[in-house]
Symmetry: C2
DNA sequence: CATTGGATGTCGCGA
DNA sequence: TCGCGACGTCCAATG
């Protein structure tokens, strides 16, 4: 059996088991009545109650209650766990430096302590990231705009790396910022920073265009884009579940460029001033590409 | 005993225990060899390995491996957990809607299953938040600038709520954005948005000043502030550990206003153009206030 | 180390 | 519900 478990151990028994489990590099769960105190970047205190403490061999500590996804208290990987019996309580202390932070869990009673050898996460694969969206757009740049020519990804600028940089049919430089979800004001500002950086660096007389590519945009973000003469293109990320949604599959080379500012570039003159009403184009990475 | 535990149960035994634990509203831990699949906002897949599955009565599901603070896979609160035996494996499925997301954990073998009644987190108290910093500054507004007069907190604008709004000795409106940690470009942009909003709304001829208050600022953020004629004031948040750091305690009413742009307002003419070199002022909320 | 921005961010608050 | 911003965000990539 790979899981060692003790029920209602004395604090001293719990201490022995803990030391052994630390030694083996096991993942440890301790369930019992405890108080929790944290001091570091902030400070917090949690009164007596039943909670679950998770100790990982990489130095992570997590205190979980009956609700929420995030632990009520924690310590990041790289911390050092120590256990001791003090004042008739089992104290588990997790400490790290830079910044100096300490987590103290004092168990009045330990109801269960388990230790088990768990595997890593080397083989986790995730799809649907912004990088995936970018790759899909590189395959079908016309989704952004008919004739759009990608020149670089992660192009470095004074203001940080640009997701996607290219040229339009008029030869004008285009800065593209990609977001996998609906965007708010911060994304508009981010794009604005990149556009300003390119305008400073390239110093070309040709105005630099900025296009925010995302599934949708909030009103405030839309206004911000307009203020800065930036554009928005609605693109649904490749849906993982085989496109159960009602979005349109990309099948034309004409892109729905939605110029939010009248003065902005409007290649087809078909800007509808709408993004949520008109379904965004769906990018299927698995489609016959090239 | 409040913790129910079964070791190496058959899938059917595990299923019974699970149903009972769901019924009781217990927190459940399942340790065993399993695969994990997720599909929703993104999609992911994790091969066979030993992991710990946490199921909370509020609908949270967490899959933890031997490292990192974040679960390798999860489902947020409000999801619905279902268990079944399929193809000789124990399947725990957690589903939610809007957005539609499914987490499937397939156990080849269950090595341990525990269920326990855990407490809530109602009595958690945290200090050191941005709100704490704001309150401290309301007590001692001169830390921001000599003569600064706070007028409102969370003042609503077209661009969102302003942390702290007030007037300087010249009667000029001042937008203050607070950050509890070192700030980067996004904070500068955020302040810029708020200043622009006030300039639009108040329409006063008097230029609106913007001050970013934080422990320190990155180079890029500093440049951004300068570009927009915004200012920076270094203020250390009240340290939780009784101020073990080497920061200066606030004891004068003259604030270190660091005008980053030459054209910016410089009331005392003593801007040093320095923030990290000169230690930031420390705000002690517990000091004799008022 | 510090900087920067993505994330299945999560969470809380307010309209 | 959505929008918005804080968070002890966490985390990886990069200089």
């Amino acid at each position: 059996m790979t899981a060692t478990t003790v029920h209602e151990p004395t604090h001293r028994e719990a201490l022995w088991e803990l030391e052994d489990a630390f030694e083996r590099g096991d993942l440890i769960t301790i369930f019992g009545r405890c108080t929790v105190e944290y001091d570091g970047r902030a400070a917090s205190s949690l009164g007596l109650g039943r909670r679950l403490l998770l100790l990982k061999p990489d130095g992570t500590a997590l205190v979980h209650t009956d609700e929420k996804q995030k632990p009520v208290n924690w310590q990041p990987p790289g911390s050092e766990h120590h256990a001791a019996v003090r004042d008739g309580r089992l104290r588990v202390r997790s400490v790290r430096t830079s910044p100096d932070e300490t987590l103290d869990v004092h168990f009045e009673t330990v109801e269960q302590l388990s230790a088990m050898a768990v595997s890593g996460r080397r083989d986790l694969s995730v799809t649907g990231s912004e990088a995936d969206l970018r790759n899909a757009l590189l395959d079908r740049p016309a989704v952004i705009e008919s004739g759009f020519e990608p020149l670089a990804t992660e192009r470095p600028t004074d203001a940080g790396p640009i997701d996607l940089f290219g040229r339009d049919t008029d030869g004008r430089p285009v800065v593209v910022e990609l977001k996998r979800r609906r965007v708010g004001p911060s994304a508009a500002s981010q794009l604005q920073r990149y556009v300003a950086a390119i305008e400073r660096e390239d110093g070309d007389d040709a105005a630099v265009r900025g296009i925010l590519v995302a599934p949708s945009v909030t009103d405030r973000a839309r206004r911000l884009l307009a203020e800065h003469g930036l554009e928005f293109v609605a693109v649904e990320p490749p849906s993982s579940t085989g496109d159960a949604g009602g979005s349109t599959t990309l099948d034309t080379e004409l892109s729905q460029t939605d110029a939010v500012d009248d003065s902005a570039h409007d290649p087809a003159g078909d800007a509808t001033g709408d993004d949520d009403g008109e379904p965004a184009r769906t990018l299927s990475a698995d489609e016959e590409s090239h």
